[in-house]
């Protein structure tokens, strides 16, 4: 069994997890939520094994490197990181109703990696620019940031949905009945944005230090760099806006959603629509 086959299987396990979470939330049925978490953990373990296997395969091919070097490998890692962050978060807060979006995102990332014609799952050797110890630090930190923002997107969407139904006279009933209160969701989102912001900052910084040793400049307004800065500015705005009374709540939730849009553009849009130095990700 090859690593890419095992990894493509996780697409479906993540999808089941998302379906369990969604139906558990809608029907307010705890065992389904438990099944969602179980499927999530199972997919994560399989994925971890898949990543390890791919790493070993690359060494057998004679140009071993950590699987974080192209579009396929970054999608797998993004999917993995989203679920790790979500499941740890779920375990910490003891609430299982927030898993729909993270599981769905993990599944979509794996589906795109495994089944899109534009993404090559073949293990490629490292081109000279990527041969650096900064590769691990830069990719891991950036994707921890991106993944936290993916979870934050889900929390913001649920917050906005929950806000709309605050007038509900019986908050324990209805489709959103099991969800945490709006103020709790707002707090969770703030925590997630904080976590993502810290990692994105470290990701941008490690990228700058790396660029300085590879290209002789720590900042060159390359589209990828610029878009990561745009993302950073939006989330910096979220964190500062929270201290302004009028911006707390809905506005910060919308800003987080816009921020995640920027993450997606930084990740995909820049590769396909704009040209720049960061072209390894295009294959």
């Amino acid at each position: 069994m090859t690593s890419s086959f095992l990894l493509s299987l996780t697409t479906f396990v993540f999808l089941f997890s998302a379906i369990f979470y969604l139906s558990g939330t809608i029907f307010r049925f705890q065992p389904l939520l438990k099944a969602g978490a179980f499927a999530g953990w199972a997919a994560l373990i399989a994925q971890t094994a898949g990543i390890g296997l791919r790493w070993a395969e690359s060494y057998r091919m004679g140009y071993g490197h950590i699987p974080l070097a192209d579009m396929y490998e970054s999608l797998v890692f993004a999917s993995w990181a989203i679920m790790v962050i979500y499941l740890v978060f779920e375990w910490r807060i003891g609430q299982r109703t927030l898993g729909v979006f993270p599981a769905l995102f993990s599944s979509l990332a794996m589906a795109y990696a495994s089944f899109s014609k534009g993404v090559d799952s073949k293990i490629q050797p490292l081109v000279p620019a990527l041969k650096s110890n900064w590769l691990i630090a830069h990719v891991v930190t950036c994707f921890l940031g991106y993944s936290a923002f993916a979870v934050s997107f889900g929390l913001s969407a649920l917050y906005l949905a929950r806000r709309k139904h605050t007038e509900n006279p019986n908050p324990q009933s209805g489709v959103l009945g099991l969800l945490p209160s709006a103020s709790q969701l707002e707090w969770f989102n703030y925590q997630m944005v904080l976590f993502g912001f810290l990692w994105l900052s470290v990701g941008i910084i490690t990228g700058a230090v790396w660029a300085n040793s590879a290209w002789g400049t720590y900042w060159s307004w390359d589209p990828k760099e610029t878009w990561s800065l745009i993302t950073w500015l939006i989330y910096a705005a979220v964190l500062h806006a929270r201290n302004l009374k009028g911006w707390k709540g809905q506005k910060t939730a919308w800003l987080s959603i816009i921020g995640f849009g920027c993450v997606l553009f930084t990740y995909f849009g820049v590769n396909f629509l704009l040209s720049g130095l960061h072209s390894y990700a295009r294959q």
């Binding site: 910084i205 610029t226 745009i230 939006i234």
Partner: protein, 486 residues
């Protein structure tokens, strides 16, 4: 009364603090406002989006061709074709810097006062006003309760210090006061980064050297291609190699370089992508490679006499034509000149009159082309020898260490700002003579992550309640239920 009040008392009106006029004060207030920060964040983000969509570095003609005669020049006037280096974008960054400075000036003194402030006079009755406040009543005698509480609280929160109180025994714990400074450190680190970038752009330079194998040069073409800079030493490329994987993808670009100073080789080293060489504060990066003409052999035919002359011209080095007072040199070479294949640009002129040289493109792959002539000669290129060159990025940035310091401070400060807090915990133990009970009051506050602190606080309360119940009470069966929120 909330205990947060002392902070407000110390925030005196700005006029008296800085001796400002009303107008300056209004400007200062605007600069310190969080709304300005938000507007700047969003403006910078929007401008950056534009900068990635519009072609950066496009010249006016391109802009006109692309965006039409009205929009093209407008984009140029607004400097949108070089947005990130435009005056208005720098202005936005400067304003953000001013915003940071103003906020720090405004808020840092308040923080420093909190840091230095001795504990305010303590009143145990105020504890119940805290949002995080719990009371536990026990039938245990005062002294037993006190020693138990001290040990449990000490285990959970560490060092406690007793405080003077009007009734009973009170003790206090404080930690992380310094964490209040971290938000300022985060802000100042952004300034440090901006200053480092400024230092680099004013005192540093960036350019490139192209060196063929065996070639030596001390001239750096500066970025933009308009001017050159002489280094205090020379660089020689001894060898350049490219290796490939079996997939065809490039594996390694390597230049073996030697540093030459006063005609002597100081040292030699290879550079790879990601492994530059630094000498006297100037860093050399493996950046690109290509092929360049090394020399060309030509055959000149005198149009009048039909006499043939054979010459070997090294690239860009003048050679005198034998029996003539004219010079020839190859000024340029193109792999594909306007679709006609290889071509060399020959310059021709009288010795000592370099300014009046004329130049012509000679087509290598079309030897019968009627335009292959210069001066009185028909030109036939018999051989064009090429060599590989390595493209080396050259950079000096005296501000880079400031940027690194800023990066480290920013990372540490963001982490500490959000994941540490200034925590305070008060514990008072008072005998309630009337009801023959001992009342333990807990109160606490954290300036950040109140939820986390609350968890710890609740855990402490639960443990304390449990431990107090475990001890045998002096009167059997008289143990009462706890009173909450006195």
């Amino acid at each position: 009364m909330r205990v947060t009040l002392p902070i407000l008392i110390f925030a005196k009106p700005l006029e008296s603090k800085y001796g400002m006029s009303k107008e300056t004060n209004a400007v200062f207030r605007l600069l310190t406002s969080l709304k300005l920060t938000l507007v700047l964040f969003l403006l910078l983000a929007a401008a950056s989006v534009l900068g990635t969509i519009l072609p950066q570095g496009a010249n006016p003609a391109d802009l006109k061709a692309h965006f039409g005669p009205t929009l093209g020049p407008l984009l140029e006037t607004l400097q949108l074709n070089d947005l990130f280096h435009s005056a208005w974008f720098s202005g936005l960054l400067l304003l953000l810097g001013a915003n940071l400075v103003a906020c720090t000036l405004d808020r840092l003194p308040k923080t420093v006062r909190i840091l230095r402030k001795p504990q305010a006079a303590f009143d145990s009755r105020k504890l119940s006003n805290f949002s995080l406040s719990r009371a536990i009543a026990t039938t245990l005698p005062f002294e037993t309760t006190r020693s138990l509480v001290e040990s449990v609280v000490g285990q959970a929160f560490g060092q406690m210090s007793p405080i003077e109180s009007d009734a009973g025994f009170c003790t206090f714990h404080e930690s992380g006061r310094w964490t209040r400074l971290m938000v300022h450190v985060a802000h100042l680190s952004v300034l440090v980064i901006l200053v480092g970038a400024l230092v680099g752009s004013f005192l540093g330079f960036k350019g490139n050297i192209n060196l063929g194998e065996g070639q030596t040069s001390d001239t750096v073409m500066l970025a933009g291609g308009k001017s050159a800079l002489k280094l205090p030493f020379s660089l020689r490329c001894d060898k350049f190699t490219v290796s490939f994987y079996n997939t065809g993808a490039p594996k390694e670009y390597k230049s073996d370089l030697a540093v030459i100073e006063n005609g002597r080789k100081v040292f030699s080293r290879s550079i790879l992508v990601n492994h530059p060489l630094t000498f006297r504060g100037i860093t050399f990066y493996q950046s690109t490679y290509g092929t360049v003409l090394k020399q060309a052999a030509i055959e000149l035919t005198d149009k009048k006499s039909g006499k043939k002359i054979e010459l070997v011209l090294p690239f860009q080095q003048p050679v005198t034509i034998p029996g003539d007072d004219h010079l020839l040199f190859i000024a340029d070479y193109q792999e594909d000149f306007m679709g006609f294949g290889r071509a060399i640009e020959l310059a021709y002129g009288k010795v000592g009159q370099q300014k009046d040289f004329s130049a012509r493109w000679i087509l290598v792959d079309k030897p019968t082309f009627h335009g292959n002539l210069i001066g009185n000669y028909l030109v036939h290129v018999t051989r064009a020898e090429k060599t590989r060159f390595t493209g080396i990025e050259v950079k000096k940035d005296p501000g880079v260490w400031l940027v690194w310091v800023g990066f480290i401070l920013l990372t540490v400060a963001i982490g500490l700002t959000f994941y540490s807090s200034h925590k305070k915990l008060w514990v008072c133990i008072e005998p309630d003579e009337k009801r023959k009970k001992t009342i333990v009051t807990l109160a606490g506050r954290a300036n950040r992550n109140p939820h986390l602190f609350e968890e710890k606080f609740e855990h402490l309360r639960a443990t304390l309640e449990l431990r107090l119940k475990e001890l045998p009470s002096p009167k059997e069966g008289a143990s009462d239920k706890d009173i909450k929120g006195l």
